[in-house]
């Protein structure tokens, strides 16, 4: 019998092993839900799968006569708009500042301490300030995501650019490259895969900031909706919404990682093409 740490599941068995806990959890939920409903048919805490499917049909496929829109679609459009705006701003800032701080010692000396200080401020703590300064509209939500992500992403990219071996920078200069050419043709291409990586890690926090802002002050959005129906203990709405948010997050992660593999094959593994 080999040691436990040398036992490796084969491809098919690995997939099976991964499915077991998920199946167990699903069975556990269905069992617990059935149990609660046998005691109290109008239980709201663990809604049945049928009840959730009903709500998905109502929220996701029927026009709300009050607003003239399908709630799930309107919420998704509003939330993704805020998320992309905030994440996009943070990414663009990280690219410009991260490159400059990582590559140019003068900029590093000038801006490094400021960015390091900003990065330790808990973003939710400044949310009241954002509401006061930017009002309760879209701007404060987008700015919260930006404030939450940008300092971290700038520092991460700056550290990555600063870690490019000095030999490469010297070599480029001996080949006649100017500062601008080194930035655009040596540092930028090596920074981009890292920026996408850092973006992938930032999607989770971005959702946290978005849902927090929507929970506090909003009239449409995925976070707004789940905090609204919480008042009615509407778990049959909340659970599908959470599943939908997770699905969106997974899709974004997948899109980012396949984009990176497609555009920057040299930064993924040893294959040449």
């Amino acid at each position: 019998m080999p040691r436990l740490l040398n036992l490796r599941p084969s491809g098919r068995h690995g997939a099976l092993l991964g499915a077991i806990p998920i199946l167990l959890l699903a069975i556990l939920y269905i069992g617990a839900s059935a149990l609660r409903h046998s005691a109290n048919p109008s239980d709201k805490i663990l809604p049945t799968v049928a009840a959730m499917a009903d709500q998905v049909r109502i929220m996701g496929f029927q026009v709300d006569p009050l607003t003239g829109k399908i709630p799930l679609v309107a919420d998704t459009v509003a939330s993704l708009g805020r998320l992309f705006a905030g994440v996009g701003l943070a990414t663009a800032t990280a690219l410009v500042l991260g490159l400059a701080i990582g590559l140019l010692p003068i900029v590093r000396a000038g801006l490094g301490p400021l960015v390091a200080t900003l990065a330790v401020i808990p973003p939710i703590a400044v949310l009241p300030i954002l509401f006061i300064v930017f009002g309760l509209g879209e701007t404060s939500k987008i700015v919260l995501i930006f404030v939450g992500l940008a300092p971290f992403m700038v520092r991460d990219l700056a550290a990555h650019v600063a870690a490019i071996p000095e030999e490469q920078l010297i070599k480029a200069q001996t080949l006649g490259a100017s500062t601008w050419a080194v930035a655009l043709r040596v540092a930028l291409p090596q920074a981009l895969p890292r920026l996408i990586e850092s973006l992938r890690f930032s999607i989770g926090p971005a959702w946290v900031f978005l849902i927090s802002a929507e929970a506090i002050a909003s009239d449409v959005g995925l976070g707004y909706r789940i905090f609204l129906v919480r008042r009615y203990l509407a778990m049959d709405v909340i659970l599908p919404y959470v599943a939908w948010i997770s699905l969106l997050a997974v899709a974004m992660d997948f899109a980012l990682s396949s984009t990176s593999r497609g555009l920057f094959p040299w930064s993924h593994g040893k294959r040449s093409r």
């Binding site: 071996p165 490469q168 010297i170 001996t174 080949l175 006649g176 920057f264 040299w266 930064s267």
Partner: protein, 256 residues
Amino acid sequence: MTAPSSTTALAFENVWVEYGDAVILERVSLEVQAGAFVSVVGPSGVGKSTLLRLVLGQEAPTRGRILLDGQPLRAEPGPDRGVVFQRYSVFPHMTVLKNVMFGLECSGRRANARAEAEAMLRRVGLGHSLAAYPSALSGGMQQRLAIAQALIARPRILLLDEPFGALDPGVRVDMHELITELWLEHGLTILMVTHDIREAFKLGTRVLAIDKRRHDPHAPHRYGSTTVYDFPLDKPGAVSPDAAADMVSRMAKRAG
């Protein structure tokens, strides 16, 4: 073999490098003739790399002057000096071909850049790997690429910093042949830092040993290194075996 030309390519005039109290190099004066292949040897930590950094322009001398073709050297890397490092010399995000074309594009030699780069790569034996990324190449092939990349910019002097130090012995012998051939074909002036004394004598037309002449045991940083031996060789490998053996034993004693 090319006859040594009488023009001076690189000159050190009483160069000192000090970091605060510590003296790294002192009173280094030397002239490198155009077309020479100068090997620099010496124990670890003695200032070989500092010497190379000076020529590269990564740092400036505390005192003294360095002249390239009679002009004071700009204290910044530039296309008049090419370099091959032991590692990290090539750009991981560019294909082999792009790595070599980069130098042509930066210096505005865009016409025929592709054909020129391909010819250079075929010369160093990478004609079949044009579309590969460096991570797919072996250590020896990466150094071939680094050499091609440096040569395409037509530097006045080529600096080699332990270029073959990380390679397997068999590959190293192949690389010795390649660099010797390229040196002759292109009439290069080469300054190579190495810790391998046999390599230094095998490749060089001249071997410089640098070390501290004076040593104060109570203040080891008080005195810097300078050239302690200067072996002019008629041609590569022409040093008498006795002289080489003597040299090797002296260096080994110092290093130990």
